[in-house]
Amino acid sequence: MVDERKLREVALTPEEYRVIVEELKRAPNEVELGMLGVLWSEHCSYKSSKALLRRLPSTSPAVIQGPGENAGAVNIGEGWAAVFKIESHNHPSAIEPYQGAATGVGGIIRDVIAMGARPIALLDSLRFGPLPASSHHVEGVVAGIGWYGNCIGIPTVGGEVYFDDCYANNPLVNAMCVGLVRVDRLMRARAEGTGNSLMLVGADTGRDGIHGASFASLELDETSSERRPAVQVGNPFLEKLLLEACMDLAQTDAVVAIQDLGAAGLTSSVAECAGRVPGAGAHIDVARVPRRERGMSPYHVMLSESQERMLVVVERGREAEVETIFDAWDLTSAVIGHVTDDGYLTIVDGSVDVARLPVSLLTDGAPPRRLVGVASEQPPGLDIDALPPLVDAGASLLRLLASPNLSSRRGIFRRYDQMVGDATVIPPGGDAAMLRVKGTRLGLAVTTDCNSRYCYLDPHLGAQLAVAEAARNIVATGAHPLAVTDCLNFANPDRPEVYWEMEETVAGLAHACRALDLPIVSGNVSLYNDSSGESAIYPTPVIGMVGLIHDYGKRLSAGLRSEGDFVLLIGSSHNDLGGTEYLKVEHGYVAGRPPALDLAREKAVNRLVLAAAENGLLHSAHDCAEGGMLVALAECCLLGGVGVRCPAVRPEAPLRMDAAFFGESPSRYVVSLSSRAMPELQSLARRHHVEISLLGLAGGDSIEFEGQFRLSLDEIRQAWEGGLV
């Protein structure tokens, strides 16, 4: 029997070891044990979450590729497919923020490239502990993301940044990439064709990142910094070469498949590629793998997570054609093996046998973990009647806008190239960003969203709200929500209350996605986001979403445009103060039920906004989210540089004044339009059974609610732009 220490090193349990021996009918050697260890890690095998993930919807008429490939793909018309995926790089970013975040970006870009698509946009969903203690994480992560994206020349157009105590030891870095490919050139990473060559291209293989996938599947503790060698180091210039070479490759028919080398390096990329083709196997000679350093064992070569490498399946006899393309881009490539039909992954080192494992054992053999969920304690309740009344809405607005969760993100996104590619038709800073598809009138709206405070208070409802909010971001640009990629971040699933959160979250996601006709086509699960069993993160299901507008000339942005426009609130407001930013900033706590969501109403409101946008009625649209109506209205003014004059807000009982201004009832938008368009909007609203109410008139350089408060845009801007400094 192998000793326990060795098992711990490869993050396998004695029970898993027993299964391995039973399946192999022999004990695995050291290399085999290491290979199984990484592929059976939570990060690669999803052994704790697989059963849950099956409950998520993944099909729609537009879906061309659902989960299971390097990225998902949807048909957007005119022969184009949008390819996208979101992925976490939480653990590496906690230990080494700059390289951790940078290589997270690099990894997700390769996933999109592997589908034959040219990446056109990046988004980053980030969560940190409170400032200023977290500033070292913030600075490193933002700089790392900027470095990689700016250097490779893919615009970073969106994302989110939140601060909360629960992320102090476990910051979250989720990166999303969106690409475009002609539908008939979409590639899949399947090792088809016995005898076809396996080529490794890109960076030489070094000892970096060994056991990275296993590391990502453990809780962080005081020894985690010793794992720093498990964090990889990025080279965006090399990835740019890979990107261009792969785009050239995709134009030839000499290439059968491209597979990214990510977590678990060569082991997982070969196994996954073969695993997608029934009966396929692969034969690899590690002696042929170009190396960065001397003295590397086959174990190191198979487990290295050196970045900027791709595995290419090349039609037998056409290797020279492929090599010519790599040579043009000064990339090192080598034939390291070939596809077999024996269902085994066979590793040799020259003439020496190193390892021989069934592909299915590697990719599907990890026994699913049977975990039990137990509802966690009820989070603190909120007695809304005991809440002191709103004193000064204007003063509250300034404090909310200055809070790190709501303040302007300009200081962050101006460090990212948002424009390279000449396609960004809605820049970051509003709701969703939008990229045009050059040569067509199509526009792709992209966003990420999740309010994890809601998820903490009620994971089922919080997950639904995250989907709905992301969809609203898309709709606010005039685009139709199309499909989802999700990054599910949780603490240690071995704790029953955490597994319960996972169950509830997945159920909530499935419910909302079905109701809103949104398939989830790709995604990632990140577990063990807690330190030494304490300070678990809130359940954080980050929703990445892509939407489509057929003519980007009809797109809407959030800022008020014209003096004299009517400013309206679409949707109805309730006493939704639970879990709000107002409650946290003004009263100092996180409590209550998250805002109630009626998905049928949500659909009706979205249909109204899309119809109004399609008919050209609206001048602007903005989703009401954290901070409620008044924060949304202030953002419309700040983004457009136009003020607003409103009659006093006099809510009808039982609606409270604080809820009217700062409540976070979902299914609401602030829109503006010319007075001439009002009758048509009113009749549309009646047809869709949606409440609309006039907030005020656009104009001037202040926000005024008659008799309640008046603030100049300058003061408001100062508060808003000062929040993150």
Binding site: G146, N150, G153, F237, G421, D422, T424, R436, K438
Partner: protein, 234 residues
């Protein structure tokens, strides 16, 4: 008018420049691969933005040794139009075709944002479609765009009127607040004494269509295209 757009392995504004030339302007376009010492008969050579060879040493430091650069130097000597944008400007300085250097932004951070530029020369083939003292809106995107030169060089540039673009506010005033990167004298772009080699940090190829936020960049491309027409006619 034939535009040649140079492609180094780490260039990323090549396709944006190409898009504007080919799709917006409707002029003739060809890409010039860095390994080929051949300008393929280009009338104007553009060195576009990007990280030519990764720029790990110093921006533009390696690119100046590329085979295509030797031809570009000869071409510039003969009076050919050479236009360096962003990384292209850095390369032109490294290659000695323009004086000075681009150092790290004063903020020590990358900056991608819109800037206002005061156009100080309208007699050039690059700017003939601009009006005297016009303020144009053009975005920047760089980490090392802080123009630096020794005092003698700087005063020579000023005396000879070689500063073409200066960061300014939206009314044309050259102020510290309007300077996004700490450039000396708010310099955003300069030309050589002969007037045929232009280097600029801002990206005119990113503002040639209204849907991208502005069309001022197209004026520069038009200027080049039409200057060639004039030469052909005369």
């Amino acid at each position: 008018m034939k535009f040649g757009v140079v492609v180094f392995p780490g260039t990323w504004s090549d396709r944006d420049c190409g898009w504007v030339i080919d799709q917006v302007l409707g002029a003739e376009l060809q890409y010039l691969w860095h390994k080929d010492a051949d300008l393929k008969g280009s009338d104007c050579v553009i060195l576009p933005g990007g990280f030519a060879y990764g720029d790990y040493l110093r921006t533009g430091a390696i690119a100046r040794f590329a085979p295509v650069m030797e031809k570009i130097e000869e071409f510039a000597d003969r009076g050919g139009l050479v236009w360096g944008i962003c990384n292209g400007f850095q390369i032109l300085c490294e290659a000695g075709l323009l004086p000075g250097a681009l150092i790290r932004n004063a903020s020590l951070e990358y900056r991608c944002q819109w800037t206002n530029l005061a156009v100080e020369r309208t007699d050039l083939q690059f700017t003939s479609k601009c009006t005297e003292r016009e303020v144009i809106r053009v975005p920047i995107s760089h980490g090392e765009g802080n123009y630096f030169a020794d005092p003698a060089t700087l005063s020579r540039l000023e005396q000879r009127g070689q500063v073409v673009f200066r960061y300014c506010d939206d009314t044309g005033h050259v102020t510290n607040n309007a300077n996004p990167n700490g450039s000396m004298h708010n310099i955003a772009g300069i030309v050589n004494a002969r007037g045929n080699v232009l280097g600029m940090m801002p990206h005119p190829e990113r503002c040639a269509e209204a849907e991208l936020g502005g069309t001022d960049g197209l004026k520069l491309f038009r200027s080049v295209a039409e200057s060639a027409m004039k030469v052909l006619v005369s």
